[in-house]
């Protein structure tokens, strides 16, 4: 007879197989990574350019990225999009603070053709005035919508506060659209795309010759290896509330500058952060959503850039419980700083993290993303074996130490809008 009150026995994860993609150099310091043992006909290519929002201004980075296939002397934007459609390819470009990443998705038999189309469009891009005006109009309209959202306003504000006086603090405003010039975009494209490729990730089951052809063509865009400026941040905590009278909820962001994977405390801090706010059963979720019902969701995150990272707690709450929510966050931090995490909770989080890592390593696409996460910091895949070992060994005392050492309440900036 099944006794439903007894949980099935669990088998812990001891080790995970991590695999490294094949690497060829496009040029000195500019790698192409290739994962080729794919069981299906999908293929993907990621081109990383040194063209993020911090290299010059966010408006230039954002508009140039949006206009990469906006037309050449001989082909219109529509013709180029049709050509990509004809090989069933999807095209996407995303811009972060440090990088612009162009991604092509296609069936493996068409990826090379999709890349050729993109290659020609990028090389010969002329940024027609008409296309520039259109994208400005479209983006301005989208920004208007964004700027009505309390979460967007709070996010922009805390970014300005944390990264004050560095390129990382810049955000796009409506004014930027009025002053941006086509010639600036052309110059940005010349400098940061035509000579801005920093690495390529390739997934797909095609022949080595195809991969080598792609590699050769990528050489046309090589520039310097990726090396963003190393900024120093003031680290001053700032507390501010912005009233938005028509809002029904208040967005809260609590954060500070932190480290990235290269720091010896990173793994221990991540375990502590998971307990605090980075999974569904976290203390912030259990207290502020599941016990108090103040919010639909609350979480704490570690974000990483090349030289630094930052820590952020984010939520939207009922307007009348803003103060109460901030107080509860403070209480949860103090609890982590003064009490030891109970053994059962710590064990749960360890198993959860290892299960999530197993999932994050499942399949060629996931594996390449994991690899990319360490490659960015000049580390190798053995980081994840260290991670497994550290997660298995970490003690409640170390968790408490991490909270005390890095999350002093007075060091945190608090922004609320709503």
């Amino acid at each position: 007879m099944l006794n439903r009150q007894v949980a099935p026995k669990l088998t812990p994860i001891k080790s995970i197989d991590f695999s490294v993609p094949e690497m060829v150099e496009i040029h000195a310091g500019i790698p192409l990574y290739w994962k080729n043992n794919i069981a299906n006909e999908t293929a993907k290519m990621e081109l990383h350019f040194n063209a993020g929002t911090t290299i010059e201004t966010p408006i230039l980075a954002s508009l140039t990225a949006g206009l990469l296939i906006s037309g050449t002397k001989t082909k219109s934007a529509i013709q180029i999009h049709h050509a990509l459609d004809a090989v069933g390819a999807y095209y996407d470009v995303s811009v972060s603070q440090e990088q612009a990443v162009v991604t092509l998705y296609a069936l493996n038999s068409y990826l090379k053709q999709a890349f050729d189309i993109f290659h020609e469009a990028l090389t010969a891009a002329i940024f027609p005035e008409k296309e520039v005006q259109e994208i400005c109009n479209e983006r301005q309209e989208k920004l208007k919508v964004q700027l009505q959202k309390v979460n967007v306003l709070a996010q922009r504000k805390i970014q300005q506060v944390l990264f004050e006086e560095t390129p990382y603090s810049q955000v796009i405003s409506q004014r930027d659209y009025a002053t941006v010039k086509r010639t600036d975009l052309i110059e940005f494209h010349q400098k940061h795309y035509l000579k801005g490729l920093s690495k390529v990730f390739l997934v797909g089951d095609f022949s080595k010759d195809v991969m080598l052809d792609i590699k050769t063509a990528c050489a046309d865009f090589v520039g310097k290896a990726f090396q963003p400026e190393n900024c120093t941040f003031s680290g001053k905590a700032h507390i501010e509330h912005q009233e938005k009278s028509d809002a029904l909820q208040t967005a809260i962001r609590i954060g500070k500058i932190m480290f990235n994977k290269t720091h010896p405390d990173f793994i221990s801090f991540s375990v502590m952060n998971t307990i605090l706010g980075d999974y569904f059963g976290s203390r912030l979720m259990s207290n502020i959503r599941e016990d108090k019902g103040y919010t639909y969701g609350i979480g704490s995150y570690m974000m990483e850039n090349t030289h630094f990272g930052y820590f952020m707690i984010a939520t939207e709450v009922a307007k009348e419980v803003r103060e109460a929510t901030i107080q509860e966050v403070k209480n949860e931090l103090e609890r982590l700083q003064t009490e030891l995490v109970p053994a059962e909770e710590l064990e749960l989080v360890k198993s959860y993290l290892l299960g999530q890592l197993l999932k994050a390593a499942d399949g060629p696409y996931a594996m390449l993303d994991l690899f990319s996460g360490v490659e960015l910091h000049g580390m190798d895949i053995s980081f994840y074996n260290k991670y497994i070992q550290k997660v298995q060994e970490i003690t409640a005392e170390e968790i408490r130490e991490m909270a005390c050492k890095h999350l002093d309440w007075k060091s945190l900036s608090i922004i609320s809008v709503g």
Binding site: R4, H81, D85, G88, N137, E141, E290, G293, T295, Y296
Partner: protein
């Protein structure tokens, strides 16, 4: 081709199993045949509120998420107007944990007052965050009310109003569970590197003893044929005027569904569609324009939506929209364009099938429609569509009296 096995337990539970040897993970997906369309008009938002309560502990297990996380897994769920879908992704060697948890909450819930009270608040905050505190957040509530007069698609899954959620009582919750949460109202799908016999044995071990209950017949009010074009204007604090044309389209099981889907792909193609080129690029009438379908099981909506540029009028837009619509009812789509769309569909499908969870959800959904193997037949249907099929379909679809239009007007000095 996605191979799968199907078996049924004596209590009526349908089980699908798809073996994937390359993964160390397992997916357990449970699709319950209940959605917002099964709610009564006085108690809307219930299917979704209930989904939240399913995580508040079951009859023998006080906490759902804890044991799953301790097994290295994760879980979530979503509610639509048609279905409620729960899924667990965890290391394959801990499959039992997911089956244990899911079977216990199918058997019965803990039904604590605290859980109900908290989840009511959480859902109210979700209501505000997603529907009320966003520009254009409430438009879908308005479109549904305009397009449907009788069918329960007239309310959104979150509910018609916050008050319905505030008023939810424990007795309502229990009755809802009894009616909709039992083996014969559920499709369970397991994916992982297992053998069929093992899956049969483990599923029977955990789910076999759950009592059988009768699947209740679904008798929904039929939506009467519309007799005239309907239009409504609302004024909101939004940055730009927005428009939402909606046309009634065939239900999911009708072959016309695939025609509508393909037609919306063609009309809404980014950067190259006729709508985009004419209205965004040439005339500068709108800043964005899209076409898509709602994808519902019963009669759905074919949508054409977008935002007007500053200083442009709804009347000018209306003329142009009908010109474009007329184009598709008269002119055949070129062979080249049709081929482009079809190969894009193949790419999209190949990427979708990559994900284990996607495969589990799709298999379950096709089984609900009648046969999980539909997942393997769908591509062939799309690939066999001709330009003439689309033109004839467009002619049937875009009849003015089948349509509605919601205009969202920007509040002055907003």
């Amino acid at each position: 081709m996605i191979h799968f096995e199907r078996f049924k337990l004596d209590n009526g539970l349908t089980v699908l199993f798809h073996k994937e040897a390359s993964t160390p993970m397992a997916v357990v997906n449970l699709l319950y045949d209940v959605g917002a369309r099964d709610e009564s008009e006085e108690k809307t938002g219930f299917a979704h509120l209930f989904e939240h309560l399913m995580f508040g502990g079951s009859v023998n297990i006080p906490d759902f998420d804890g044991p799953l996380q301790a097994a290295g897994g994760e879980s979530n769920a979503f509610t639509s107007n048609d279905i409620t879908n729960y899924y667990d992704v965890l290391p394959a060697h801990n499959l039992d944990t997911a089956l244990w948890l899911e079977s216990d909450r199918m058997l019965s819930l803990a039904f604590t007052d605290k859980s109900l009270e908290v989840q009511r608040n959480v859902v109210i905050e979700e209501f505000k965050q997603r529907y009320l505190n966003q520009p254009y957040g409430d438009v879908w509530m308005e479109i549904r009310q305009l397009a449907y007069t009788k069918h329960p698609y007239k309310w959104a899954t979150i509910g018609k109003e916050i008050k319905h959620i505030e008023d939810a009582k424990m007795s309502d919750v229990k009755a809802f569970f009894k009616k909709h949460y039992h083996p014969s109202n559920c499709i369970l799908c397991v994916i992982g590197n297992f053998e069929l016999d093992y899956v049969k044995e483990r599923v029977d071990h955990f789910f076999g003893s759950i009592p059988k209950a009768k699947k209740s017949a679904r008798i929904l009010p039929l939506e009467p044929a519309q007799d005239r074009f309907k239009s409504k204007t609302i004024v909101r604090n939004v940055p730009a005027d927005a428009f939402y044309y909606a046309f009634k389209m065939p239900e999911r099981k009708n072959p016309g569904y695939y025609l509508a889907d393909l037609l919306s792909d063609i009309m809404g193609r980014e950067k190259v569609s006729k709508m985009y080129v004419d209205l965004v690029k040439k005339q500068k009438l709108v800043s964005e324009i899209n076409a898509y379908i709602t994808g519902s099981i019963d009669e759905g909506l074919f949508m054409i939506t977008g935002k007007l540029n500053e200083g442009k009028s709804f009347a000018d837009l209306d003329k142009e929209i009908w010109k474009i619509i007329a184009h598709y009812t008269v002119t055949l789509i070129s062979k080249k364009e049709l081929e482009q769309i079809k190969i894009k569909l193949r790419t999209a499908r190949a990427f979708q099938d990559q994900g284990l969870l996607n495969r589990a959800m799709n298999l379950s959904f096709f089984e609900l429609l009648g046969d999980a193997n539909g997942i393997n037949e769908e591509q062939e249907i799309y690939q066999s569509i001709h330009a003439e099929d689309l033109r004839i379909f467009a002619k049937q679809l875009f009849i003015k009296k089948n349509g509605v239009l919601l205009k969202v007007k920007k509040k002055k000095n907003a």
